[in-house]
């Protein structure tokens, strides 16, 4: 009898292979399931359209409609981070996958990295669809002369955002039924604090600076400055906001690593890893 030879990969290669392996079902699964594609695009779009009509009822200038459409697209990312990153371990507990993740040799970090990668690819398609459909429906024009800086802001914001998602995922690891409700709790209050549907400067300078701990606050403000020019009441100059986002990205990645190790230890000690209800 011979034992089958198993390729032994270590270090970064193992992390990458595990991450790609975890991202695969996300990308393929989310795009194979047509109904998810429909719901993930149409649901944020319906909410977005409702807010567009609020501005229309108030007789607001057209750029506000652009604000709302951008906020709607950002909603797709926030929902992905909260429901498919932060609360994902809750679903995995229910499905019995969490125990499997815990015993695989790559560790939990590459699993989360793969979830982020897969979630991002699937969400970016939906966000683009929301912007395109919304812009066509309401004839919104965006100034894309600063496309390079726009993509830089977007890229750094995504890293910071998914870093925050991993940090939350480690917290949610301890929770049972609360996970669902806590994800719900982080919807409207975050939409408010980050100025999803209005310029965040309206909250007041210091309040907006406080809510800038959520990466989407700075990201949305910077992207709106780039797309709407001087008409947008900016919170900070764009490059300051880019620097802030880089800081948040580093902060959340470090915090995520620390929190994950700490919460995994606590969850194991308190026996919550397989506690379903």
């Amino acid at each position: 009898m011979t034992t089958a030879s198993i390729p032994r990969v270590r270090g970064l290669r193992r992390v990458l292979r595990a991450a790609l392996g975890r991202s695969y079902p996300r990308i393929i699964g989310q795009n194979r399931e047509r109904s998810w594609l429909f719901y993930d695009t149409v649901l944020p779009l319906l909410g977005t359209i409702a807010f567009v009509y609020v501005y229309k009822a108030l007789g607001a200038p057209d750029r506000f409609i652009g604000y709302v459409i951008m906020g709607g697209a950002t909603t797709a990312f926030w929902m992905n981070v909260m429901w498919n990153m932060a609360a994902q371990f809750y679903w995995d507990k229910q499905g019995g996958n969490l125990e499997l993740y815990m015993v695989v040799p790559c560790g939990i970090t590459p699993i989360l990295l793969g979830m982020s990668l897969g979630g991002f690819v699937a969400t970016v398609l939906r966000a683009v669809a929301i912007v395109l459909i919304g812009s066509l429906m309401f004839h919104v024009r965006f100034d894309i002369s600063n496309l390079g800086v726009f993509l830089l802001v977007f890229g750094v914001a995504v890293v910071a955002l998914y870093g925050l998602g991993v940090t939350f995922a480690s917290l949610f690891l301890l929770w049972g039924r609360e996970a669902w409700h806590m994800a719900e709790l982080f919807m409207e209050p975050v939409f408010l604090a980050s100025g999803f549907y209005f310029p965040v400067r309206a909250l007041g300078f210091w309040a907006a600076m406080g809510t800038s701990l959520i990466p989407l606050t700075l990201a949305l403000d910077a992207m709106r400055q780039l797309l709407f020019g001087a008409a947008h009441p900016a919170l900070l100059p764009v490059w300051w906001e880019v620097a802030g986002l880089v800081f948040l990205a580093v902060l959340f990645i470090v915090l995520a690593r620390f929190m994950l190790a700490r919460m995994e230890y606590l969850a194991r000690r308190e026996g919550r890893l397989s506690l379903r209800f």
Binding site: A57, L58, F198, L203
Partner: protein
Amino acid sequence: MATAVAVPQEGPLRRWWRVLRVSFWLGWQIETNWTDPLLFFIYSLAKPLGGVLILVFMYFVVARGGQGPMLGFFVVGTALWPFVLRGMMGIAWGLISDREHWKTLRYIYTSPIPYRGYLIGRALAQATSAVAPAVITLIFGRYVLGVPLHLANVNVQYAAVAMITGIAGIVALGLVVVSAAMLISGEAWRMPEGVGAGLYLVSGAIFPVTTLPGPLQTLSQVFPLTWWLEAMRRGLLGPLSVRSFAWAGDAQVLAYEVVVTAVWIIVATFIFGIAERRARQLGILDQESAY
């Protein structure tokens, strides 16, 4: 030799009442006992207050200060919308979570109770959890935002009739949604949310339906929620409210609400019966999707 134990017979009304009461209690426990009362209270308030503040800031960035009747429109709409979210969507999630999550649907369904009564009890428990956020949002609107919610303006009887009819309409809509949820599996989790988002857009929750394009304005009148929200605004804000149906008097709006709700109750009863029968025929009533 086994002997039969005499079971006291209950009338159908008493049985319905008992089922409603017990399922209400069960629904309340599921809804509230996942955390301590303080966190539950914060959780209940965060969503509607967050929602109303988003609208308030949207209003202020356009109006640049000052108060107007639209603030009252936002406050009442946002205060009442959790009843729809929790009542209508809650009834569907009651079925779906029993089927997929708790895996208790087959045991509940085969017990000698009217299943419809059980679902309605669960929905009413969810709707009850919207009372505190609604009241606090209205108080916030009155005292922080200066919305003219003065007791002198409030037509209590009118608002009470509108509210009771509105809850009946929400339950009727919930029965239609739950009927669809019985027949689908994978999409069932998302479907109630989709219906809720659609209704949020067309029923005048946060803007007058007159802002919508013509066909959507017509569509909005088909739903009891549109009439309920309009009637509640008239009942709570009096003549100062922004109106979706300026052509209709207060009594007319209430009459429309009652009629449209009655039609939906009849339709929902009929659709629920068909869906239940169909799900049993196909053997999918307790089918789990593993989503």
